[in-house]
Amino acid sequence: MSLAETISEPLNVEEIRRSFPIFNYPENKGLIYLDSAATTQRPIQVLETIRKFNEEYNSNIHRSAYKLAERATAGYECARLQIAQFIGAAHPHEIIFTRGATEAVNFVAIGWGNKFLKPGDEILISEMEHHSNLVPWQMAAKRNGAILKFISLNQNGELELEALDDLVTERTRLVAITHASNVLGSRVNVKKVIEKAHQVDAVVVVDGAQHVPHARVNVEDLDADFYLFSGHKMLGPMGIGILYGKEKHLDAMDPVLFGGSMIDDVNYYESTWAELPWKFEAGTQNIPAVIGLGAAIEFLEQIGMERIEAHDRSLTEYCLNQLEPLEKIRIFGPHRQRLPVISFAIAGIHAHDVATFFDSRNIAIRSGHHCARLIMRKLQISSTARASFYLYNSKEEIDKFIRVIHEAIGYFSRWN
């Protein structure tokens, strides 16, 4: 088989699913899990890696001169290198481990924002942000007297990037934007945003929590100043997030957490900071989660991000093509250029009731505002039902999902 054929070969979902113990757990028999945008399931390779750390070489890193600690340190730093390569970072020390994507945004909002934002500066964000890439900027603006401005979301679920010419001004200091919406699946042309922002020397923070698991990202190619994402949305463990930052920015900004491991020298009244990346990694880190995330990336790379993207796209189009003709169904977000995230509503029925119906048929979907109240306000809805897919979902599962949609429409018809 040629390389091109290997890359384009469809995923063997059945084989992939065998690596995920949760799908083989007796009580979960028949479960269709369509909430990967919230968190993904973990393959045995990740779970085994964590088990091995705990059972074979649990120890603290960067501190001790014995074999266990050497192995733990090597595993931890090896994961950092893997992540750097995975997203195309120039240096592994541009990868900072955090508790999650939310903490990563806060690191920039506090560590960079408090140092460089001045009264009257403008922070540009979008109406499509998850609360994690909105609330930290509201607070940073308040603390530093900066002004928050918004890129509009249109009714198709796309950002109006044409307005950038007016929105980006000489006062724009920072732009924070999502790479893809967790509600609408819309992908954002962040490269265009970054180019525009860099014309006025503004710094750009990209929230890649939804994008990274589904499509190849190259931060150097994007020229992103900061790029962050979380481990548990890409087959990795919970409690681990990544903050990528260009070396010059990480060097210039202040650490946010202070204490052990992040210092260079300590005296009675003053201390100095360690080099990158350790300057930002105070205290004992979530070492098994870091090493587990390395295993998740290895799993993804072995399958191939291009194949995963093609699989996700084909499932999404397959699903949308069957949903769109249904009169009672409203779909939010664009048809094309979207990740495998489909927000929808059944006419006249609240998303919670829809999700409960799906649960009664053993299908896990999400309902609510998805931590994106600005989107809800803009689309004048309070909540949506959301189905999201990943590499372990099959066409047969989509067929079942569509059958249950029809059942649900029937069930709820007596409510109107």
Binding site: H352, D353, G368, H369, M376
Partner: protein, 150 residues
Amino acid sequence: MELDDLYQEIILDHYKQPKNQGIVEDADITVDGRNPFCGDEIKVTLKFKNDVVDDIKFTGSGCAISQASASVMTENIKGKNTTEVKQLFQEFAEMVKGDCDDHDHPHIDDTCELAAFQGVAAFPTRVKCAMLAWNAMREGIERELNKKGK
């Protein structure tokens, strides 16, 4: 647990045609309740005569459970004094959370429409929906009592 145990006829009737929707004129207390998980909002307005809930209405939109719960609640609260309301709140909350035996809610017997919400206990994610209006109402009662310095 079957879906129809949750969505009982009484609940659907109230969902389709809610009672006491609107805003009480000259209300003594207005409370905005919010379910942070789904973004549903409810406004409860209350008018008191001495210690008794003279009138109570609600506005807002939400799922079948939250709307029906608000509707049945208003019907059962009207005319009761604050002590009785607090007792009923306690019993209803325990019932939908599944924190009690059947006979632990003496004021919610099988003839009471509030009993229709017993099924919620089997759907823990929906407890917040059933409690949305109740929590707002309870806050309203507390505010009224604080006003009177009780």
